[in-house]
Amino acid sequence: MPNQIISFRLNGEVVEMAVSPAEMLLDVLREKMHLTGTKRGCGKGECGACTIIFNGKAMNACLIPAMRAQGADIQTIEGVEGPGGLHPLQQSFIDKGAVQCGFCTPGMIMSAKALLDKNKSPSKEQIREAVGGNICRCTGYVKIEDAVEDAARQLRASAVKGGEL
């Protein structure tokens, strides 16, 4: 089958890409757009290193056929930092020592962000469930959980300041 032009929203901007039916979204992001923050750890949806937020849900980009991105709203790790600086999750990952080799970190942050985008007061179990599909071999997950809890706290605090709660 020939390539097709698809268009989707990527980190807030509409983009157009020619993709083949055989391609996975991860290949398009990494190989064609050179957005290498999304990592490939297994290519089979088993490690979570390629987690992106796809229409509001954390998903493994290696399992999404590129064609399915047509019309989708996609956020990758490159779109998490705001104009005002790092997202609280990014800052908390640094402050709490949740980063070691860093290869799982983008996927881990995306999974956590998909959770916190919807729930700013997650329980420990909800945090564990949210990152349960993201393998980290360095940290034992201890400081990752701390970081997500810390970020949730900050997001709640800023929501209070902003009058959202």
């Binding site: 990494r30 297994c42 080799c101 860093g102 940290t139 997950y141 201890v142």
Partner: protein
């Protein structure tokens, strides 16, 4: 208040922003103009001779630019790991691999490689290569492989009086008279344990990108833990001067855990070989399956411990034996059995000891270094036998250990002293954290879920000597603007090297961390260093950096002294400012920050390093500190306590809590050290309960993906209490000792002892999977 400005502080990692924003570059992210993509054809057979190989169809496929097999590949024997280049003079190097060989020795062994304009084309080309194999007899178990009738894996290598397929030296550690010690013992416990193949499963698979320029100079971006030794190995494989090869991390490496102490599988030489043929850059990234079946694992092993004690619990004799399954190739043939023996013998003060250990070739994926390097295997056997001894003597296992643990200054089998140990304090704090006094009182009669408490203690190294060549160099250059540039050959494989080493430099120089840059993991522009392994980076590379920074500081102060008109020893640098140490002021008139020339005129008593460095620069002088050191060695210590719950209906073992107390000397960055402890705990839980690669009767690995190799996830983790008990080791930088590996030495042993405490059943084999536990409890 801490006596230090930077050391001992949990400062944030310098790679944090790069790694949390996706900006950080890893080898697998590299994309160069004209770059080709490589794929590797691997053997489906565990042992076979390649009778013929025809690549003509593959070569004709449009987009294919190079094909390499044993016919056109380099013909130099090598060892893919650092013993190729770092074997000590007392041992003989084991060189047993070609890049491509006529014989394949395990499922996944390299047969051919293709470089093409896309991965898809390279993959398609692999399917066009025709290979005819003559199947050879295969052997998978180490004890079977030693029998006289076993097939020989490497002709002419390993036929010894002790058995077949023993590739390297047999490590024998005699320490006094073990027979006498056993004869003097009142109680003797002997047990053999079977340890499984564990896999590092670092998140970034083995990878390399090679580029050859018009003069034949080669650049290799690589996932290696050891850029300098890897450069030397590549030079020897291809017969190219090491000085023409640059190996570097880009700079980030997605984990190591020992899997790339030397080459990253064979990613570097395959990419380089294809790049030399195609005259274009070549990128090779292993799939996760390739990483599983074609790069080093932890050694499966049989370890036997025979422990003798007096009635009062005093250990009298320890006789230990280890047989290590090294698979198809022997990357760390003598070093790893040596570390297993030495580290296990070093835990307790036992007057009579003996160790006998060696590697054995089999037709499995080659086993090499994995975090702990033989030590977890030995520790599992030893620490379970200690618990068995406690039971026999009717003693509390904690008491028995307290009575026998090594004390600072005690004699032991190692050629360096047991300089410092806070193991007793680690045991005290760990026991308190887990609630050791509850042991034996946790279960109601008839309970289906049984709780148990267990403990284990252990030690490790702070560098590779005396098992391996081990030295370090570093440069510290003071820039004309007063900032400092540090160069060290170690990479940062995720352990925080690029932060901790800068803390050491900042503390030594008296210059803020923000004014210090670090070049690391790059053979161009850094002096030789053996790399990041053996828990040595902070301890050994840190010592070299401290030496280089001390040298640079001395030069700065000597230059300044002429203007201050006092001895350089009476000057100090703090926060980037040079001034007389307290009490010297009377010799220096004036006060406050000023220009160097004004100091001479008595108009002030302090200058910035920036002012001094620029003052020197415009007078044709720069300060360059050099550190060239041979590190000592020192033992870190670990006391690990586990509480488990065993579901007798399902065989499921759940770790409820792990308390891991460590003596790492001084923690240069406590947050980073905690991360090491927690990560090691998780890998230890996996080793104890779920992680294992097994082989079917056709010699195929049955676990080769994260789907069926059961790694702990966030949902599997118990509460982990990491406890740092500081000591001050005189041999390490600011008192530091190794911290990277000791964390994985004891958790599985503690969990095994906790399971035995809960169920009354002692497992002689790990992992304690639900299937094994259920069977054991219901038979």
């Amino acid at each position: 208040m801490s006596q230090f400005e930077y050391v001992g502080k949990s400062v944030n990692r310098r790679d944090g922003v790069d790694k949390t924003t996706g900006r950080g570059l890893f080898t697998t992210d590299i994309f160069l103009p004209g770059m080709l993509f490589a794929k590797v054809l691997r053997s489906p057979h565990p042992h076979a001779r390649i009778v013929s190989i025809d690549t003509s169809e593959a070569e004709k496929l449009p987009g294919v630019k190079a094909v390499m097999t044993h016919k056109n590949g380099p013909k130099n024997l090598f060892n893919a790991a650092v013993p190729m280049f770092l074997t000590i003079p007392q041992l003989e190097r084991v060189l047993d691999q070609y890049l491509f060989d006529e014989i394949v020795r395990h499922v996944g062994d390299e047969v051919a490689a293709v470089a093409a304009t896309s991965e898809a084309i390279a993959e398609k080309a692999l399917g066009l290569i025709k290979v005819e194999y003559e199947i050879l007899p295969a052997v998978f178990d180490a004890l079977e492989a030693m029998k006289p009738e076993a097939p020989e894996l490497h002709a002419g290598k390993g036929c010894t009086p002790e058995g077949r397929n023993i590739p390297a030296e047999i490590v024998k550690i005699p320490y006094n008279d073990v027979e006498k010690g056993l004869a003097e013992s009142d109680v003797i416990v002997e047990q053999t344990f079977e340890l499984p193949v564990q896999k590092q499963v670092q998140m970034e698979t083995q990878a390399a990108v090679a580029q050859v320029d018009g003069n034949g100079d080669v650049t290799v971006w690589s996932t290696t833990q050891t850029p300098h030794p890897s450069r030397a190995i590549l030079g020897q494989i291809f017969g190219i001067a090491a000085s023409k090869i640059r190996v570097l991390a880009p700079p980030y490496v997605g984990g190591g855990f020992g899997v790339r102490i030397g080459l990253s599988g064979k990613a570097e030489p395959i990419a380089m070989g294809l790049a030399l043929l195609a005259k274009r850059p070549v990128k090779l990234v292993y799939t996760r399956k390739e990483d599983f079946i074609a790069s080093d694992t932890r050694h499966a092993a049989y370890v036997t411990v025979k422990l003798g004690a007096k009635k009062d619990g005093t250990f009298q004799a320890l006789d230990m034996k280890g047989v290590f399954n090294t698979g198809a190739f022997c990357t760390f043939g003598a070093e790893l059995p040596g570390v297993c023996g030495a580290m296990t013998l070093a835990i307790y003060r036992i007057p009579h000891q003996r160790y006998f250990g060696h590697s054995v070739y089999t037709n499995r994926t080659s086993a090499g270094a994995m975090r702990g390097f033989g030590n977890p295997q030995g520790n599992l056997a030893m620490e379970q036998v200690v618990d068995m001894m406690a039971e026999k003597l009717g003693m509390d296992p904690l008491e028995l250990r307290r009575k026998n643990i090594m004390k600072a200054g005690d004699p032991w089998c190692l050629p360096y002293p047991c300089g410092t140990t806070e193991l007793a304090e680690c045991m005290r704090q760990g026991a308190e954290s887990i609630g050791w006094e509850r042991r034996g009182k946790l279960n109601e009669p008839g309970a289906v879920k049984l709780r148990g408490l267990g403990m284990a203690v252990g030690t490790h190294v702070s560098n590779a000597w005396p098992f391996c060549v081990d030295y370090d160099n570093a440069y510290v250059t003071i820039q004309p603007d007063g900032s400092a540039h540090v160069a060290s050959g170690v990479p940062d494989i995720g352990t925080g090297t690029s932060t901790s080493l800068v803390q050491i430099a900042a503390e030594t120089l008296g210059i803020g961390m923000d004014s210090i840059s670090l070049t690391y993991g790059d053979t161009l522009g850094t002096p030789f260093d053996i790399g990041s392994h053996a828990s040595r980076t902070c301890y050994a590379a840190g010592t070299a950096i401290k030496a280089a920074a001390t040298d640079a500081r001395k030069q700065l102060l000597e230059y300044a002294a002429g203007y201050f008109n006092i001895a350089p020893e009476r000057l100090e640098i703090k926060g980037g400012v040079i001034s007389p140490v307290a009490g010297s002021l009377d010799e220096c008139s004036g006060s406050g920050l000023c220009q160097l020339e004004e100091v001479k005129e008595g108009k002030g008593n302090s200058v910035t390093v920036e002012e001094l460095a620029y003052h020197a620069h415009v007078r044709n002088k720069q300060f360059i500190g050099v550190g060239r050191i041979v590190p000592e060695n020192a033992p870190p210590w670990h006391a690990c306590f586990a509480e488990v719950e065993v579901d007798t209906r399902t065989g499921q073992v759940r770790v409820v809590k792990l308390a891991a107390a460590h003596d790492v000397g001084r923690a240069i960055n406590p947050m980073i050290v905690e991360g090491q402890i927690e990560g090691g705990a998780a890998q230890g839980i996996g080793y104890a309960l779920s992680e294992e690669i097994t082989y079917n009767d056709k010699g195929r690995q049955q676990q080769y993906s994260m789907h069926n190799y059961m790694l702990p996830t966030a949902e599997d983790m118990p509460e982990i209490h990491s406890i740092i008990v500081e000591s001050h080791d005189p041999t390490g930088p600011f008192g530091a000792k190794g911290a990277g590996e000791c964390s994985l030495v004891c958790p599985a042993s503690a969990i095994a002892n906790a399971v035995a405490n809960a169920t009354g059943y002692r497992f002689k084999q790990i992992p304690m999977t639900p299937e094994r536990v259920f069977k054991a409890l219901n038979s």
